[in-house]
């Protein structure tokens, strides 16, 4: 069934070449100090020990993606894929985010062919989070730093090697094909070390917050002055949404070469924090200020997404806190929401504006 093996860090090339021969491989790469997701060709490009700054969604939902090209009379779809996608070094929060996005794009009422093209047959190689950051709160979102949901194979950093464990049949098949008979089984010492790493990670996380009442509280807070206060601490940029592993709104633009009828239609990540996001052709904007926009972001994640898909669109990765230029902290907002919520006064805020 599930197999486990020891992969020495100096032998990561073997894993990477097994991956790149079958998949288009993405992984965390250091670019002048920022850890971003990039296509990877060899193991020495990988930066597996740092928290990924960019979101994993970019492997399946690129920031800028061509929908079609046109010349004025006909249009062409984008070229098909030559290989399925694999991502190496995916933290459990990010692995779970892909499951949430698949509910939106892959398996829900509306299927997105571009998402499916990239996501179908993909292989996710998770990496347990040995040293969570101060801004991490996966444990408050029903997740843990070594949860394997969403991963096909799970790696645990045990010092000079990774302990690799298959979590799905797909992961199992890949490991078997990649390593055949050369598998190095982990020793009891390796397994003990992995246990210690996991235990230490759990200890270093702040105690889980109870956000269970948030959705009910939000239903009573549509008109609350809370949002005025919350909005004062937000600069209305898009850093949180673009770095969020579950935010998935996009804009569609036609880019036509000047003086011709040739061009391309692209979709580009968009953010509800931008005034332009809801600006209508007439010039009217139903979300006039930061107040309405930040409310939308919180409502979408912790209320509407729950209505539509049964769980919150947040995995506790903390990027929106860590990367915010104003140190805006969604955990504090959720706490305030819980405190301000008035049970029994719920009204359907969903379509109210």
């Amino acid at each position: 069934m599930s197999s486990s093996l020891r992969i020495a860090k100096q032998d990561m090339d073997q894993l990477v070449s097994a991956l790149t021969s079958r998949y288009r491989l993405f992984g965390p790469v250091d670019v002048d100090g920022a850890t971003v997701l990039r296509e990877v060709k060899s193991a020495d490009e990988l930066a597996l020990d740092a928290a990924l700054d960019g979101p994993v969604k970019a492997a399946f939902f690129p920031q800028t993606e061509m929908l079609l090209s046109y010349d004025g009379t006909t249009s062409e779809p984008p070229p098909g894929r030559d290989k399925p996608t694999a991502v190496l070094g995916v933290r459990p929060c990010d692995a779970r985010s892909l499951l949430l996005l698949d509910k939106v794009f892959g398996t829900g009422k509306y299927r997105d062919s571009l998402w499916q093209r990239r996501h179908d047959d993909s292989l996710i190689i998770g990496l347990g989070c040995g040293t969570p950051l101060e801004t991490c709160f996966c444990n408050s979102m029903n997740l843990g730093p070594f949860d394997s949901q969403g991963s096909d194979i799970m790696l645990t950093d045990i010092g000079d090697a990774f302990l690799a464990e298959s979590c799905t049949d797909k992961g199992e098949r890949f490991l078997k094909a990649a390593y055949k008979s050369q598998v190095q089984r982990p020793s009891q010492a390796d397994l003990d070390k992995a246990g210690q790493v996991r235990g230490k990670a759990l200890e270093s996380l702040a105690p889980a917050a109870d956000f269970s009442g948030v959705k009910a509280a939000l239903a009573t807070l549509w008109d609350s002055a809370l949002w005025d206060e919350v909005a004062l601490g937000c600069l209305s940029c898009g850093a949180c949404a673009y770095l969020c592993p579950t935010c998935h709104c996009f804009d569609v633009q036609d880019e036509t070469a000047p003086g011709t009828r040739q061009g391309r239609r692209v979709r580009i990540w968009d953010t509800c924090q931008s005034a332009l996001f809801t600006k209508e052709a007439s010039g009217h904007n139903p979300r006039l200020s930061a107040k309405e926009r930040i409310r939308q972001r919180v409502m979408h994640k912790f209320s509407y997404f729950v209505d539509n898909f049964g769980e919150a669109a947040c995995v506790g990765c903390g990027r929106c806190i860590r990367m915010c230029p104003a140190d805006f902290d969604v955990r504090l907002v959720l706490q305030k929401v819980k405190e301000a919520g008035k049970p029994g006064k719920a009204k359907d805020a969903r379509r109210a504006g």
Partner: protein
């Protein structure tokens, strides 16, 4: 007007504007409490401890009981000027906002007054001397490792001081209503040394550097929204009728955004470094802005944010202005 005179006059005007007392003995919290109590300010915008020890969070204080949240130290990086504008926009007319101002923030407030964006009596400037702030995203090998976001941060020793702070010449606000603590000593040396160093590179290498930096940009506009001088109600990149710029995160579009923004802040940028510190991916914008600041200084003898009344460099005309590029 001779160039030297223009500069000199500005600095004199700046000095004359230090009208109120230099209250060294007053603590920040004491000053804030007093301003609220005596109704000299309706709210105080300062910093409080953030979620990570490496970064302070902008705080809006309305009541005396909350002033103890205020701090000032080298984690107080964000410019508070955009928050002042937000608070004023949301408030009743006549509201006075007190704001904790480092040298750069003070200059940005002064420049906004000079540009007619802010009335001097809308703000009570609580000046603080600043020894420089850390760039929490500066990725020293240790600082970026998970779990090592240290709760106390050493300044230059650990290499986390903001680039703008390393070259800062104005650690104290040129204009203030009340000053808290000791003024900070200005750094010496060539503030444009980094620019000179960069200009030694071959053009192809310089362009390669820009391409590499701009490839990181995700068009989140954190730089713009954190900038104390980006106050346009509608940014050029957000205009849709007509739409001047592509919206993608691909290089031509990101490059154009940053180049046009840099030109738009020419002669206005106070090199506070808020844009660089705001960038989630560490795009280094400061070098370009500094080069433009140098150009404006050389051509027009103008330094932004020193005078409440000097006409902004690019909004003024002098017969002495160099115009060799016009045939």
């Amino acid at each position: 007007m001779k160039q030297e005179n223009r500069q000199g006059r500005q600095e004199r005007q700046g000095a004359e504007s230090k009208t109120l007392r230099h209250a060294q003995s007053d603590s920040l919290t004491g000053t804030a409490r007093k301003l609220l109590k005596e109704k000299k300010a309706d709210l105080v915008i300062g910093y409080e401890r953030g979620s990570s020890g490496r970064r302070a969070r902008p705080a809006v204080i309305r009541e005396e009981k909350d002033v103890d949240r205020l701090i000032f130290d080298n984690t107080c990086g964000p410019s508070l000027v955009p928050f002042v504008r937000k608070a004023l926009r949301a408030a009743q007319p006549g509201t006075r906002v007190a704001v904790v101002a480092k040298g750069c923030d003070g200059r940005a407030l002064v420049q906004q007054v000079a540009e007619g964006q802010l009335k001097r009596d809308q703000v009570v400037i609580i000046g603080v001397g600043c020894g420089g702030v850390v760039d929490a995203r500066r990725r020293t090998p240790d600082a970026r490792r998970p779990g090592q976001e240290a709760s106390s941060v050493e300044r230059e020793a650990s290499g986390v001081l903001s680039d703008s702070c390393r070259r800062c010449r104005y650690p104290n606000p040129p204009v203030y209503d009340v000053f808290v603590g000791e003024p900070a000593e200005a750094r010496t040396g060539d503030e444009f040394a980094g620019v000179a160093e960069f200009e030694k590179l071959a053009p192809a290498d310089r362009w390669a550097w820009f391409e590499r930096e701009l490839a990181k940009c995700i068009r989140c506009y954190a730089c713009r929204n954190a900038c104390p001088m980006c106050y346009c109600e509608e940014c050029f990149v957000d205009q849709t009728n007509p739409q001047w710029f592509g919206k993608s995160a691909e290089r031509p579009d990101t490059t154009l955004f940053h180049l046009v923004r840099a030109l738009h802040t020419a002669g206005r940028c106070v090199d506070c470094g808020a844009c660089e510190r705001a960038c989630p991916l560490g795009v280094r914008l400061g070098l370009l802005n500094k080069r433009i600041e140098q150009e404006v200084r050389e051509r027009f003898g103008f330094t932004a944010g020193l005078s409440l009344s000097a006409a902004p460099a690019l909004a003024a005309y002098s017969e002495d202005d160099r115009q060799e590029f016009i045939l």
